[in-house]
Symmetry: none
Subunit: 152 residues, 2 copies
DNA sequence: GAAATAAACCACTTTATTCCACTATTTTAT
DNA sequence: ATAAAATAGTGGAATAAAGTGGTTTATTTC
């Protein structure tokens, strides 16, 4: 259950192709079959889920009450941008044009391993996001997570 | 649960490789498999966790809700600097270039055994850290921290 | 059936990993 | 205490893998 981690910047060619980082490939479980689902993230980035993790997300979505107005809105807007993608023989994904536009990704993309999913950022948008994150608040978060690790 | 201790200075070659101190190797538990996770520390140093200790950290992270705003920020910023590293046949780790730059490590690195993890310092940054800590204030800190620690 | 789009294929450059050799230090045996 | 053996630390070369750009072939669409 080792999760995605690390940050890797790769170039995007004029066909929207970007090498999938080798370091992240190691974390893929065999049942993911190098198949992914890519969609708009909650920040201005894209979420890339390996197939097996995506199925868990769908499981969560199915538990949402689709007879409530809010439920329908969440499901619709989360799924409407989603698309299935795979890796080519050179281990590249090709990012759908619509999603590239929306996320502001152009010639460079930054992969960030983020637990059960991978985030795809344009360098510019990531810089903006980082500005809003002070070192102090990171410190607080860090201590929150690492504080009492020895909890057997 | 034997913990890391001691301080060892080693050289770093132009490929970012540094021998893992033999004295520290003895503390590694067999299930760590000579695998580590390295990431930015809270001071200007790197944290090196043996695999078994790191898994405890990931266990905590996996409990965070990745669909809440704060949760996403915690997970992203915590994992993004992290990378898995192993030892080569000569018992060396290779420090990722990004982390070398960030931590100011160049041709020399100081390993400091620090309980469940190991800290990696550039000699310069460690000297700065030491200057800011006089022996008197260390004594005070020690008392403050150790004062009310209960020994089960 | 032609144009547009996407998938597969190939070639090259760069980067990372593995392997081998040498020196210094520590441990062991006499 | 001294020599021999083993382990530790260091540097470089050889090898393999990763990343990138472009071309060709197949598929879809109109």
């Amino acid at each position: 259950m080792s999760s995605f981690k690390g940050e890797y910047e790769h170039s995007v060619d004029n066909k929207g192709r970007a090498s999938f980082p080798a370091k992240l490939r190691k974390y893929l479980s065999p049942q993911a079959q190098e198949r992914f689902t890519i969609l708009k993230g909650l920040e201005k980035c894209l979420y890339l889920y390996p197939q097996d993790e995506w199925e868990k997300v769908e499981g969560k979505l199915s538990k949402i009450n689709s007879f409530s107005r809010q439920g329908r809105t969440v499901i619709r807007n989360f799924l409407r941008s989603a698309e299935d993608v795979g890796l080519d023989n050179q281990n590249r994904i090709s990012i759908p044009a619509k999603l590239m536009n929306w996320s502001d990704i152009d010639t460079k993309v930054i992969f960030i391993g983020s637990g059960e999913r991978i985030e795809l950022w344009s360098p510019e948008q990531l810089a903006i996001e980082d500005e809003n994150m002070s070192f102090e608040s990171y410190q607080d978060l860090f201590e929150e997570v690492m504080g009492d690790v020895e909890d057997e």
